[in-house]
Symmetry: C2
């Protein structure tokens, strides 16, 4: 047991895309990723989008909706709330100055939004929480 929850062996393209994202300090757009991978034979956006779709499905990559960009999941195997990836809603704090992204969970927030949904009969499929602003360093 304790095998990766939802990360089957990655294909070549998925590995390339994940590695680029994982090594990046900042979120990257699909086209920026494409440019980084031209040397590895990537020629078209679809190659990137397809890999991103799968990686997102596996929970290894997150899409930042307010940026139209992507980040590698910051949670390593088996974090706080259950084994590995596949946890509840993830929230992001995005620094508009240095582009650093902090990823976090908040059970209370999850729970509260869940309660709201339940009270309205709304069935959530995906929840986005993104805080834009200035990180401690940049705000100083």
């Amino acid at each position: 047991m304790n095998a990766p929850v939802s990360s089957p062996a990655l294909t070549k393209n998925q590995t390339l895309v994940f590695d680029v994202l994982d090594r990046s300090e900042a979120p990257m757009s699909a086209y920026t990723i494409l440019d980084k991978l031209r040397d590895h034979g990537f020629r078209a956006p679809l190659q990137v989008y397809r890999a991103l779709d799968k990686l997102t499905e596996f929970g290894m990559v997150h899409r930042l909706e307010s940026l139209n960009a992507f980040v590698a999941c910051a949670h390593r195997e088996s974090s706080c709330c259950g084994a590995g990836h596949g946890h509840g809603t993830v929230a992001f704090a995005i620094c508009e100055s240095c582009s650093q992204v902090m990823e976090f969970h908040d059970h209370a927030v999850d729970h509260r939004l869940g309660d709201w949904a339940k009270s309205k009969g709304f069935k959530p499929s995906k929840t986005t929480i993104e805080i834009r602003g200035l990180c401690q360093t940049c705000a100083a």
Copy 2:
């Protein structure tokens, strides 16, 4: 007193764009709005984007980041938390079947995210909360 908090008289284009959004059941993209306003002399996307920028600034329109689309603010003058627009973070529940959007506040969520930010020294400027899923009717 009790004058609108942040809604100076709208210009012609702002009024046209707001009216289209306000009458719509569903969120609209900038280009959809443009098409609706061709009869009124709109020719270019920028006319729409400029109006949307101002309306968003006034708090009369919200951008749905996960849809790249816009909705008129559902809160009428002087809602629960302070006078009119200009309240805290607004959250959205977006039905992926019928496109209906529910707008709501949750002080507890606001507060919780605010506390997280404070604990990290992060200074929020704008917070996005969007729940995608199925509304009660469509989930049935």
